[in-house]
Assembly symmetry: C2
Homo-oligomer: 396 residues x 2
């Protein structure tokens, strides 16, 4: 559990610094956010040139104002230590220390220094962030998408949404918006990770879409209420999309494209990266083709292939065709315990399932996601129950 | 060297049997064609049910009639042992013995029994078959191609043709014809491997194209003059396209497509297989995408990528961007000897180069092809000379 002082200090840091600051993340990790903020107030600069600007912004700042402003639009600050903090985000720390070592002194350093784990996340919408993203896939691509690209983005997102896999994207024009709309068309909650604040409509034309997204899903941002997007915030936002999800699908991307940046983050985080091919005569597919040619990315043509790819995570057995069921005795012990903790009757919450199975929440969520992909269980709101198939065939 | 009796016996076998017969290929390999034909004439059946039909066809047959008929249209019979027999074709023997072992008794057996090395090839056109295909790539795909597919087929074939890489295809509608036309547009000889005889225009609408192809390039077939195409001849033709070339590019292909059959042959022969992606919404790209998803095939978007892929064969150094030159001292000893045997002045024939370099013809051709890809040498008709770049910079 996180103290209210620590939460307020993290709110302050999201207000006075830019997202993804690696050195700051290390400082917070070592000393706690409150100690860092108190230090800044006392004139400590932590050997950072930026510290002076931080201190100026901190003068007279009251984090409760931001927390209240967030609450007023149904948003909250989610911090490491909160139950709904997605453990996946911690992977960003690991990648960074590795990356940092590799590029010290090189030109790429500035970009890499912007890849630290988030200090906290402003989240708007009712679902639990960790649960909503436990079984999820990023669907990203160019703003200047073609009709082909938006069609495929929507189709894939609809298909994975139908299987209760959460589509995460950036609410930008083109591929992103088609992805969110596809998921919504499948009545699946979707998550938009924004470069602006969760109470800012950017792009302006998406105000209604953003409202619709957070009716059932979530808006997520590293920057506090009222903040506008910026170049650096777009880039750091990409790493969050990659880190929050079980894999990234790039639908259309030019050769230099933010979507490829998201894909590279996913690769560094060892998440599956998928690419949707297109005509070789289309500049908007050139980036995807480069990704597919470079190896490391899997060519996908439809939702079922995306589902198969993300369902393989941590699963060393042969990939199942999605929706294919597997006999219970093929499940490992822990997964079997999770399955047995799910009732055939009333849906059960994940905490209770975790308690019954004797596993951590994170572990339980992962296994529930996999059981869902194999059609053993289904989600009902926040809760879980046996699938129709599993109920009809409890003996298998 | 092959005796005239043996050549006549092979001509007879192409007349009385269907292409690709594995058992027949083994018999001929073990006893020679003449002994097999003599045996059939003497009533020997070699334990083959088909032998009776062969014997009937053999009655009163005179191979000289076929050889004369071929000569009348500028065609000849090329046999193993002839200087222009492509050594690559012998790889079919190796694949087969492996495949045969794998599928004995299985349903696939009939198809595999149709994959033996050719007994001989009917070839029409002036270039030397081995030299013309030494640096070559197959460009194949669906008959019912889209405008997109034919455009890309033509573009790629034009680009590789410009670099003196021979485009080999099947002269069918759609992708094939676009490939041949692309090569011809680059003034590059192209090779059509036919399911009918080299003096038969099939499809009828391609009569003029076939004439144009064999003005500078070659028509190749396993069946003797006057023969019509058949289903089995289309399938066995595919293996020849794969075996004759340094790699196979599939441009558009439906899920069950002859082009995929060619690709599988190329894979079994350990030749690089490449696929051109297209819209995932196009049924004509579905087969290519499956090929690319299955692994083993490389996604290519343009001619330079095809050239890079086939120029890597047997080359363990880093792939060069096509057209990029490499200092002479990066060449291995044998390749350097080939290069030194090529004169800066008058073009030299490959036999003389092989003699000077002290290498086999096959080995010399391979190395010449690679040197050409690296812009050290260029082809001038049947002969070779130093490229402009290499002449201007003999010291490098």
């Amino acid at each position: 559990m996180i103290t209210s002082d620590e939460r307020r200090a993290r709110a302050a840091l999201t207000r006075i610094t830019e997202p993804g600051d690696v050195v700051l993340a290390d400082l917070v990790d070592a000393h706690g956010a409150k100690a860092v903020v108190d230090g800044l107030r006392d004139g400590e600069t932590f050997a950072r040139a930026e510290a002076r600007a931080w201190q100026v912004r901190l003068e007279g700042y009251d984090p409760d104002a931001d927390l209240d402003r967030a609450a007023a639009v149904g948003a909250r600050l989610v911090c490491p230590g909160d139950a709904e903090w997605p453990e996946r985000l911690d992977d960003l720390g690991g990648v960074l220390s590795l990356e940092r070592r590799r590029v010290v002194g090189a030109r790429g350093e500035t970009a890499v220094r912007r890849g630290g784990p988030p200090i906290a996340l402003w989240v708007r919408g009712s679902p639990d962030l960790a649960q909503q993203t436990a079984t999820s896939v990023a669907v990203v691509g160019s703003r200047a998408a073609t009709a082909y690209g938006t069609e495929v983005s929507g189709e894939i997102s609809y298909a994975v949404g139908r299987r209760a896999v959460t589509v995460v994207s950036g609410a930008a024009y083109g591929i992103d918006v088609a992805a969110h709309r596809g998921a919504l068309a499948a009545d699946a909650p979707t998550v938009a990770v924004l470069a602006c604040a969760v109470d800012v409509s950017y792009p302006r034309g998406h105000a209604q879409l953003l409202e619709r997204i957070c009716e059932s899903g979530l808006l997520v941002s590293e920057v506090p209420p009222g903040s506008a997007p910026s170049r650096i915030r777009f880039l750091t936002r990409n790493r969050l999309i990659a880190a929050l999800t079980g894999g990234t699908v790039v639908v259309e991307a030019q050769l230099r494209s933010g979507a490829l940046n998201t894909a590279r983050w996913a690769q560094q985080l060892l998440r599956p990266v998928m690419g949707v091919p297109g005509p070789v005569t289309s500049a908007l597919s050139a980036g995807v083709h480069e990704l597919l040619r470079g190896g490391g990315a899997e060519l996908v043509t439809e939702g079922s292939e995306v589902l198969a790819s993300i369902s393989e995570i941590g699963d060393n057995t042969l990939p199942l065709r999605f929706g294919e069921t597997r006999p219970r005795d093929d499940l490992d012990d822990s997964t079997l315990r999770v399955l047995e903790a799910v009732s055939a009757g009333r849906p059960v919450g994940v905490e209770r399932i975790a308690r019954t199975a004797g596993l951590t929440l994170h572990d339980t969520e992962l296994r529930l996601g996999r059981l869902m992909l194999q059609d053993f269980v289904e989600r009902s709101g926040d809760r879980w129950r046996l699938s129709t198939a599993a109920r009809g065939d409890v003996a298998r």
